[in-house]
């Protein structure tokens, strides 16, 4: 039984380490643990990018029938990531700034940065410019749920907020209070940013 890669039903290519039974157990030796955890982080980031998933929870390892099934489990070898190990992996992601606990002040659920907030800020500004929304006031909802699917469709509000905050530091966006909550106005890049 040589370990080999596997393509999931959603077309995601799992690396061969995912078919190694001990990969699903938290390793006691520090260097083995860091090797395995690093692999897990890469798989989680790539898979969330592949499926446009933004959230992973510790309990995703305990239940079935959700977005993370084909990654957190390997039915072919009858293994699954145990919750305690997944919790450790998520903590590592947070400490490496590849994810953030969301909502804050708990450690069971994280927002995954398969694009960093800085990268989202650029994507956001580019989209706003290319769709002619500069200088107009937009609601958050108009950005995350546009009539035509965009790179920002489904972006969680906390991540959108971070992106806007980053843009406002270079005077490319401004949060504005509007009748039914908050809106945002974008400005063209000045070039000197």
């Amino acid at each position: 039984m040589a370990l080999s890669t596997h393509t999931t039903t959603t077309g995601f290519l799992l690396p061969s380490i995912h078919s190694a039974p001990p990969f699903f157990t938290q390793q006691p030796h520090p260097s083995s643990l860091s090797i395995a955890t690093e692999q897990w982080i890469q798989i989680i980031l790539k898979y969330s990018r592949h499926r446009r998933l933004f959230t992973i929870r510790v309990e995703d390892s305990e239940t079935t029938g959700h977005d993370w099934d084909e990654v957190l489990r390997n039915e072919r070898i009858n293994r699954k990531v145990l919750p305690s190990y997944l919790s450790y992996i998520l903590a590592q992601m947070v400490s490496q700034k590849l994810a953030a606990y969301e909502p804050p002040k708990q450690d069971r659920s994280v927002l995954i940065y398969w694009r960093l907030p800085e990268e989202w800020a650029e994507v956001l500004h580019e989209w706003v410019s290319s769709t002619g929304h500069l200088n107009t006031i937009m609601t958050f909802y108009e950005i995350t749920d546009p009539p035509i699917e965009s790179p920002l469709s489904g972006l969680p509000i906390p991540l959108l907020r971070q992106a806007i905050t980053i843009l406002s530091k270079t005077n490319r966006a401004q949060i504005i209070a509007i009748a039914d909550g908050e809106g945002v106005r974008f400005f063209p890049s000045t070039g000197k940013a």
Binding site: M1, L3, S16, P21, S32, N78, L82
Partner: protein, 251 residues
């Protein structure tokens, strides 16, 4: 010329006088130079001593730092092994590591480490053979299948672990080892839960019959102390199954 050197016997006298004074001058100069050199050497030694004393924990504990340090020594022409006593320079600076064998080992290991990417098997074999008399733990072991490997974990990879390594490489096993496999008897025949191509994997040449305590100790050491295997706690047949990473096969 004649005028300058004079003529007759007087020229000879003058010649002797000149030679003598040149000799005296040169001796004085040499003395001055040697004194200067001594002073510089003393200064340098003091600096090196201070450096070694300041960083002795790092020198002792970090192989890469020690390597850099010996590299620095050799680039400035100081051989840490040379010195007035048998213990050499190390012994003067750090008395508690003044073990000559150890120092030589350090240098040879440094050579091995710094040329790891380049040297082929013959070099490895030669280097390791050189180290053998020092009983530093570097040995070339031959597994039962003829494969050679370098034991580079001094005094940590014992004979039992070597046997487990060979066992884990056994056909159809792909690195999977449980305590039951090593204790032998019935469990040895039904040891593969996940591989289809190896229904029975009893290998007369490699199957081991150990006590449970011996098997557990060897496997746990490989897992916890040496990081030579990974543990799987979700195997149906055993609570803990050990996967020897070097014996796992990757496509």
């Amino acid at each position: 010329m004649h005028r300058l050197n004079g003529v007759g016997l007087a020229a000879l006298d003058r010649h002797t006088t000149t030679t003598n004074s040149y000799t005296t001058l040169s001796t004085t100069l040499s003395h001055a130079q040697i004194t200067h050199l001594h002073a510089q050497l003393t200064l340098f030694r003091t600096a090196l001593n201070a450096f070694a004393a300041k960083h002795r924990t790092a020198i002792l504990n970090s192989p890469s730092f020690r390597h850099k340090f010996t590299q620095m020594c050799s680039s400035i022409g100081v051989d840490p092994l040379a010195g007035p006593r048998r213990g050499g320079w190390w012994a003067e600076v750090i008395p508690w590591v003044g073990d000559w064998d150890y120092e030589l080992g350090v240098q040879i290991v440094d050579v091995c480490v710094s040329t790891r990417e380049r040297n082929g098997e013959p070099d490895i074999l030669r280097s390791v053979k050189t180290l053998h008399p020092l009983s530093a733990g570097y040995t070339v072991l031959t597994l039962s299948d003829g494969r050679k490997y370098v034991r580079s974990v001094p005094k940590e990879l014992d004979q039992d672990q070597a046997l487990i390594l060979a066992f884990a490489r056994g056909s159809g096993r792909f690195g999977r080892v449980s305590v039951g496999d090593l204790v032998g008897s019935s469990s040895a025949t039904s040891s593969t839960s996940t591989s289809d191509d190896s229904v029975s994997t009893t290998l007369p040449s490699t199957s081991l019959v150990w006590t449970r305590a011996r098997a557990t100790a060897a496997l746990e050491n490989m897992l916890l102390r040496d990081g030579l295997c990974w543990v799987d706690e979700q195997d149906r047949e055993a609570e803990r199954v050990y996967w020897v990473t070097s014996a796992m096969r990757w496509d």
